[in-house]
């Protein structure tokens, strides 16, 4: 009907001089945008269905395609922007909650881009990472505040269970169900080759992946999908998901149509039932309840595995982190408001939560002020986009980072943000077998390994330039950072000086 007509956001532009009618665009578009007209012997496209995933563009052998943003416009209006208007139309039409995928795309400040790094000169030599040892090994877990000796005076190892990583990166939680089996396989194999960990997310652990257990973090989320004794024993660590950066305060949602076969078995729920995770854990209404769950999980696994508590970055994140640090958790994972998701209500994703840089800085400082920073390690996520973001995060006080969107990009994601439709053309955020095929784990895991290895080299180069050869000396080293274009309050919260000081 005319009243709910929305002009397509994207237009397919085809250079007919180059198009050879090979029809690969038609065959590979899950949204049925392209079609071949026999009579006219040419390809046609239905722009309304295009989600700008670039599958056709990437596969076209003669580079005949491109996708452009339509220049069909509303009258310019800085307040009633085009997207604000269109969202009203869609809600007037459907009466439903707007859903979006991936992380907050709106124009909020990115603090990583306003922080600059130091380099050593003259008074302190920089170190050459190609010729000298440059160490990025980290341990995650609690540090003791006293030593114990045996009868010969030798030191006893009194460290609680910990994780040992060759580099300060881990793959963050993405559930089996929100992403495909092949995507999980790529993450698991890459984690194994790199020696790091990946996270099951709240979808449980598929039985085929138990063999990667020593590189797996098993997650216990509010829905407790797939949680049972063997699941807890399988992983190298257990993560309690209290919140997620993209949607603080609410739980996950996987529609019943996706709960089939292996997904249903792995989550341990009947086929066709909607997997709606409750907003809170219904047995955790307060910090002491969390402490109880942490110790239950530790008892269930014989105190052999570290427990991670994952929280979203919200306003009083420092106080929450302080409570968690005193409740027996070994690692706190903080997810910033830019974090990605398979599906979340648009308004929550775009308006709830705070930037990870500020959350990290205030949590790190608060824990130090209270003298409990050594009780836990801090892992941060919620838009870590490059190795320089990692260096800045560690200098602000993190022990390690979680990446997820970056990992999906390595696997072929083009950030078209249509995951909630379940028709991911790249085989990542879908369960349709023909689409899942498109992600070959032999290719996928190699790309993940390449990306993380490349980042590790870059981190070493940056560290060498700063005159640091072991990453322990970068952790919390805020004098290595300077801000540009930040106001006094922002500098104060980040705990760094302005460039020039």
């Amino acid at each position: 009907m005319p009243i709910d007509f929305l002009y397509p956001d994207y237009e397919v532009v085809r250079d007919y001089n180059k198009c050879i009618n090979c029809r690969v665009c038609e065959r590979q578009c899950a949204n049925e945008v392209h079609s071949y007209d026999e009579e006219k012997n040419m390809m046609l496209s239905d722009d309304a269905k295009c989600v700008n995933c670039h599958r056709c563009v990437s596969l076209c052998p003669t580079s005949a395609l491109k996708i452009v943003k339509t220049n069909h416009t509303f009258k310019e209006n800085a307040n009633w922007t085009e997207s604000a208007i269109k969202e009203i139309y869609r809600q007037a039409d459907s009466g439903g909650v707007l859903l979006s995928s991936m992380g907050n795309p709106n124009n909020y400040p990115i603090y990583f881009d306003k922080i600059l790094l130091n380099a050593s000169q003259v008074t302190n030599p920089s170190i050459d990472p190609l010729r000298e040892p440059m160490e990025t090994k980290v341990f995650l877990g609690s540090k003791p505040n006293k030593i114990e000796r045996d009868e010969n005076g030798n030191l006893i190892n009194n460290l609680p269970p910990k994780l040992e990583l060759p580099m300060p990166v881990m793959f963050s939680a993405m559930s089996y169900g929100s992403i495909s089996y092949n995507a999980h396989e790529s993450l698991a194999r890459a984690a194994k080759e790199l020696g790091i960990l990946y996270n099951t997310g709240e979808g449980g652990l598929h039985k085929d992946f138990y063999k990667y257990g020593s590189n797996t973090i098993v997650q216990v989320a509010s829905g407790r999908f797939g949680v049972y004794k063997d699941y807890l024993e399988a992983g190298a660590a257990i993560e309690i998901k209290m919140g997620q950066g993209a949607k603080p305060g609410i739980g996950g949602h996987l529609p019943g149509t996706k709960i089939v076969g292996d997904i249903s078995r792995t989550r341990m729920i009947p086929e066709g039932s909607d997997a709606i995770s409750p907003a809170p854990h219904h047995d955790i209404y307060s910090i002491e309840d969390l402490r109880q769950l942490i110790y239950s999980l530790k008892t269930a696994t014989n105190y052999k595995k570290p427990v991670i508590v994952k929280i979203a970055a919200v306003h009083n994140v420092a106080a929450i982190a302080s409570g968690i640090a005193r409740s027996g958790a070994d690692i706190i994972a903080i997810d910033g408001f830019r974090g990605g998701t398979g599906a979340a209500p648009t308004r929550i994703r775009d308006n709830v939560g705070i930037p990870i840089e500020l959350a990290l800085a205030s949590v790190d400082q608060r824990l130090r002020d209270e003298g409990i920073r050594d009780n836990v390690s801090i892992v941060v996520g919620g838009s870590i986009r490059s190795s320089s973001d990692i260096v800045k995060a560690i200098a602000l006080g993190a022990d390690c980072v979680y990446v997820a969107t970056a990992a999906l990009l390595a696997l072929g994601c083009h950030l078209c943000r249509s995951c909630h439709t379940g028709k991911c053309n790249w085989g990542i955020a879908t369960q349709v077998p023909e689409l899942v095929k498109r992600l070959n784990p032999d290719i996928g895991y190699k790309r993940l390994v390449n990306m993380v290895t490349a980042w590790n080299h870059e981190i070493k180069e940056i560290m060498g330039g700063m005159g640091i050869n072991s990453i322990e000396s970068l952790k919390g080293n805020r004098l290595m950072l300077r801000g540009v274009g930040l106001n006094e309050k922002e500098l104060e919260i980040l705990g760094i000086k302005h460039a020039g000081e």
Binding site: N17, I20, V24, R27, L59, P61, E434, R438
Partner: protein, 142 residues
Amino acid sequence: MKRVYVNEKWCLGCHLCEYYCAFANSNEKSMVKALKDVVINPRIRVEEYNGISFAVSCRHCDEPLCVKGCITGALTVKEGVISVDQNKCVGCYTCILCCPYGAVSPKEEGVIQKCELCINNSHGTPLCVKGCPNNAIVFEER
């Protein structure tokens, strides 16, 4: 000897291998020039049925039936690779009937064509392998 092997687990039925094959054997430098307004007749063909698809091309058998059946000796084996001498081929199509895989096909001028691992064209290494977007076609020794 390296051969082209196909894994139907990863074949998406996108048919790009066919177009790259046609381009490789076209003697043109640009794919657009080679294939614009052309109905292709590639030496590798995608077979699809019931949700399964994979590409079929010459297996360069150790005991090739096509060579055995060739009445003019146009088909010969050189270091494991079975190639066609177009000048000798008379278009009897015996080889097409003999090949148990359907890997041989007629060419426009009445003679036959089959995959020759891109040895005789400017690419030097099979282009279907390079062009496959999902590693469903590999070139290796087994």
